[in-house]
């Protein structure tokens, strides 16, 4: 079995992702039952959630608005749409049909842009209702061999948007970048909380492999991927599995496969011997959704700036490539960065601090003016990198003025005369070691720098100390 992270030579993979995102509404798609995670089983239910006879769906307008936000954010055509029934029997589906959208989805033909500028196609993003959740007890723990099953209908009827990506993805890394970007978009526009671990964002991957130039291979759909990391692992595993089969003369069977996180393998869940027949037909209990242009434009105007636009804005201000602004935007700290840069702080240092030293809770509340002042103190040589980091940490946790914090901690810029005296004293105190250093034992420099740092409680500027020792050596 090939298990390298690299693609086997002579092969390419073709991946398309189907993402189900729970929409962040107060109530369910077709009823007033709460849309809430983590409640006691079967407490967020009502007649519609249970599909009781005589109950009728009433469309949640907020869900439509959020779906339109998704469509606009993914550069889709937002259009008049029709709900359809997808018919199949399953105990966690109360009506034994799912209300979804089929040939007339609300959003069609869009794309999203990765931080590196790649655009990946979106086929559609339609609205549908979620199913309940089954727990199979006893036997083999699967639906077909369990002793009995329990069903929780809390999730039944929660609004979903299903985002069907085009098979434009060519590596596990790119798939992760796509999913990550999509999640960032959904969270940014307030459409979904994007929590993969709670199942509010679920990613299924359609994977096939082929030799470059060949037609598309038979694909397998991999389900149960619960994190971005698993997504990458599952895709690499599955592509390698398919290549192994093909290289040993076998053929790929179209099937749905289950990712086993512990084993790090995919396993057959069910074989698709023929196309599923869901007997779709237009949902007669609902009328077509025909959002007028004015409403769509109102939603567009109110849309929060998207990650791609924010990366570009920050990159422009900082004079870097958009990909270098990605982490700052991902952490939602780009406004802080832009404000600090506008206050005259060095853009490179601002991004560095955000990426390395601000991955903490509360960072978002950091006052831009103080942050800018601090960075200016650093670049002016008033504080060392280490001191800056310590002041920054206090600014985040307790607030205050960076100058006051620095002086309270005794972070006065050390007089270079003072430092030269110290360097000379340490050389004199350790004459033998110094001789070794001069004799070619370059590692001894670390000892001397360390001594200075110890004597100054780490307040000396490492760069200056190194320079002073270098000077002493060259004049020795």
């Amino acid at each position: 079995m090939t298990t390298t992270d690299e693609m086997a030579p002579g092969w390419e993979m073709v991946v398309g992702l189907e993402v189900h995102a729970e929409l962040a509404t107060e109530t369910k798609l077709f009823s007033a039952a709460p849309n809430q995670f983590g409640s006691e089983p079967n407490t967020n239910i009502d007649a519609v959630s249970l599909g009781l006879p005589g109950s009728l769906p009433v469309l949640n307008e907020m869900a439509v608005e959020l779906a339109i936000r998704v469509g606009l954010a993914l550069n889709c055509r937002v259009q008049s749409s029709v709900f359809a029934r997808k018919n199949y029997f399953y105990p966690d589906m109360p009506k034994d049909f799912q209300i979804s959208q089929y040939d007339k989805p609300i959003n069609e033909d869009g794309w999203l842009e990765l931080p590196d500028g790649t655009r990946l196609g979106i086929e559609r993003a339609h609205i549908e209702e979620d199913t309940g959740k089954s727990t199979h007890i006893g036997g083999g723990g699967r639906v077909h061999d369990a002793g009995h099953s329990l069903v929780d209908y809390n999730r039944a009827g929660i609004p979903l948007v299903e985002i069907v990506g085009r098979p434009d993805i060519s590596s596990a890394e790119q798939a992760k970048a796509y999913a990550s970007e999509l999640r960032a978009i959904l969270v940014t526009i307030g459409a979904s909380d994007g929590k993969m671990e709670e199942g509010s964002l679920r990613v299924d991957a359609n994977i096939s492999v082929r030799k470059p130039g060949d037609p598309l291979g038979t694909r397998c759909e991999v389900k149960n991927v619960n994190s971005l990391r698993s997504l990458g692992r599952a895709i690499d595993y599955e592509a390698a599995r398919q290549i192994d089969i093909l290289e040993s003369g076998g053929t790929i069977r179209q099937e749905t496969r289950h990712w086993d996180e512990e084993d790090g393998r995919t396993q057959t869940l069910r074989v698709k011997e023929e196309a599923d027949d869901y007997r779709y037909f237009p949902e007669p209990d609902l009328v077509p959704v025909d959002p007028d242009e004015a409403w769509i434009e109102e939603i567009r105007a109110a849309l929060a700036p998207l990650p791609s636009a924010r990366r570009r804005a920050l990159a422009d201000a900082a004079g870097v490539a958009p990909a270098e602004a990605a982490i700052t935007v991902e952490r939602d700290l780009d406004e802080l960065a832009l404000a600090a840069i506008a206050e005259g702080a060095d853009a490179g240092r601002v991004l560095t601090h955000i990426e390395n030293n601000l991955a903490v809770d509360g960072a978002i509340s950091l006052d831009a003016a103080s942050f800018a002042t601090l960075v200016r103190m650093e670049t002016a040589g008033e504080l060392t990198a280490t001191q800056t980091k310590q002041v920054l940490s206090e600014l985040v946790s307790a607030g205050g003025d960076p100058r006051t914090i620095a002086s309270a901690r005794g972070f006065e810029a050390m007089d270079s005369g003072e430092l030269e005296t110290l360097v000379d004293r340490i050389i004199a105190d350790n004459a033998e070691t110094w001789a070794d250093y001069l004799g070619g034992d370059a590692k001894k420099l670390g000892f001397f720098v360390g001594q200075v740092m110890k004597a100054t409680s780490g307040q000396a500027d490492g760069k200056v100390v190194n320079r002073l020792f270098a000077q002493r050596a060259s004049t020795a």
Binding site: P53, G54, F89, K95
Partner: protein, 477 residues
């Protein structure tokens, strides 16, 4: 003649009679005749008496319980009643108690009406004789060897037998109008969306409408006004309050344009009883005599209604009835796996006609057949609407017989489903078009059994429909 809803409400509101006395009287009639007729799946005597006392209390305190104060009403047993079993005359729902009232149930209760029982029907409203009930057939009060029609046979029989002056049924392809005709009462199918379907157990969602039965057109109009109007719980319900129709009853038909549909008058659709055609012509003549302009009109696509209906209705039914799977409520027949339990439950719980239609619908929606069946049927539906719209450019209402036959004997048609389906041939087009239509008793046919004449009107044309219906009623008596 039994008391009308109007006269009961007037006497109860004025304090002349108590609602309790009204209910007791009707319960006595039920006790006497119900064992033979089996109009009800359940008589809710105790709850009715309790509700009657509440109406009486309000009257005695000077309050007005509403336009249906103290009026007994029977409800088809596919209309949900909170805490009261709602079976659809199916074993699969036996014992199920809905946790809510249908919107129409709330509305009639708010108007002061008192539910006296849940009436028998063809299982899930699939049938034209009420013989497809899991709990046995209902008999026609006018001749107990005969069927009351269906599927709302219990509601029609209840009114005809004097068990209640008014009742509610549901009409998917004629299930109110045909039994009304066969039992000699008035039956109304409103415009699609005029009456909320919330709480009506769905058969074919795009066709189902709840509507009234009554002994008089005026009672039907009163009940129509009570149950109509927008309901936020039904997305297909039309905006605005119920249409006012009672005010049109006495307006006469002077100058109205009445079209006699030639395809439904023996011209194209075959098998319509001669005496029924004769009564329909009598009705047209009476309207002409009252000042209406009566002419024959052709509605060519109406002929295709039956075939389109027997695709669309089963398709929707196959999906609507999927939920009866033994998992959450109603019957469960245990088996080794969930799928086997589903199958065992549905096999035991559904009767043969329901199974037949589920299979028809499942087949017609299957990949590869959808366009040929469901798709084509929807196109026919559009054609029917278009042809009716064209006719309504020149006519205010259209006239036809309601049913091709008078009440037939039990078991006469049970062995051949297709013959049974033909009962609906004249009523189905209005369901497909979403238009209102009503059946008004008009004389008698074979064996002295009642004949119903159908008045059809364009969407939201209920006022003119009732106007003509009232004129027919006056000329018939």
């Amino acid at each position: 003649m039994n008391d009308t809803a109007l006269s009961i409400a007037a006497s109860v509101r004025s304090g002349e009679r108590t609602a309790r006395a009204v209910i007791e009287e009707h319960l006595e009639t039920i006790a006497a005749k119900e064992p033979e007729l089996h109009a009800f799946n359940r008589v809710t005597a105790d709850a009715a008496l309790e509700a009657a006392d509440e109406v009486d209390r309000r009257v005695s305190q000077g309050e007005d319980p509403g336009p249906l104060a103290g009026v007994p009403i029977a409800l088809k047993d596919n209309i949900c009643t909170r805490g009261v079993p709602t079976t659809c005359s199916s074993k699969i729902l036996e014992g199920w108690r809905p946790p809510y009232d249908a919107t129409v149930v709330t509305k009639v209760a708010e108007a002061g009406a008192i539910t006296i029982g849940k009436t028998n029907l063809d299982e899930f409203a699939m049938g034209s004789s009420t013989e497809n009930s899991a709990f046995g057939p209902t008999r026609n009060p006018l001749d107990p060897t005969r069927v009351p029609g269906g599927s709302s046979g219990g509601s029609a029989a209840a009114v005809a037998a004097g068990f209640a002056p008014v009742s509610l049924g549901s009409d998917t392809g004629g299930s109110i109008r045909q039994p009304a005709a066969l039992c000699g009462v008035v039956g109304v199918k409103p415009t699609y969306g005029a009456v909320s379907r919330f709480g009506l157990v769905a058969f074919a969602s795009s066709l189902d409408q709840i509507g009234p039965f009554a002994t008089t057109v005026a009672d039907a109009a009163l009940l129509y006004e009570v149950i109509g109007g927008h309901d936020p719980n039904d997305s297909t319900s039309m905006p605005g309050p119920a249409l006012g129709v009672a005010k049109a009853l006495d307006e006469g038909v002077e100058g109205l344009r009445v079209g006699l549909v030639s395809e439904m008058m023996g011209g194209v659709i075959e098998g319509i009883d001669e005496q029924i055609l004769a009564r329909t012509r009598d009705a047209a003549d009476a309207l002409a005599a009252a000042g209406a302009k009566v002419e024959e009109v052709s509605v060519p696509a109406a002929v295709y209604g039956l075939t389109a209906y027997y695709l669309i209705a089963p398709c929707e039914a196959s999906s609507n009835l999927a939920r009866f799977d033994g998992v959450r409520y109603g019957l469960r027949v245990d088996a080794a796996t969930t799928a086997e339990m589903n199958i065992a439950t549905r096999t035991a719980g559904f009767g043969p006609e329901v199974k037949r239609r589920i299979m028809l619908g499942t087949y017609a929606l299957s990949a590869g057949y959808y366009d040929a069946y469901y798709g084509k049927a929807q196109k026919v539906r559009t054609l029917i609407s278009r042809d009716f719209a064209a006719a309504y450019e020149n006519f205010d209402v259209l006239l036809s017989p309601t049913s091709p036959d008078v009440a037939f004997e039990l078991d006469a048609k049970t062995s051949d489903p297709l013959t049974m389906y033909l009962n609906d041939v004249l009523t189905i087009p209005s369901n497909l078009a979403g238009h209102p239509a009503m059946s008004v008793p008009y004389g008698t046919g074979e064996h002295g059994l009642p004949v119903g004449v159908q008045v059809m009107a364009p969407a939201l044309g209920e006022a003119v429909m009732f106007q003509v219906g009232a004129a027919l009623e006056r000329s018939a008596s």
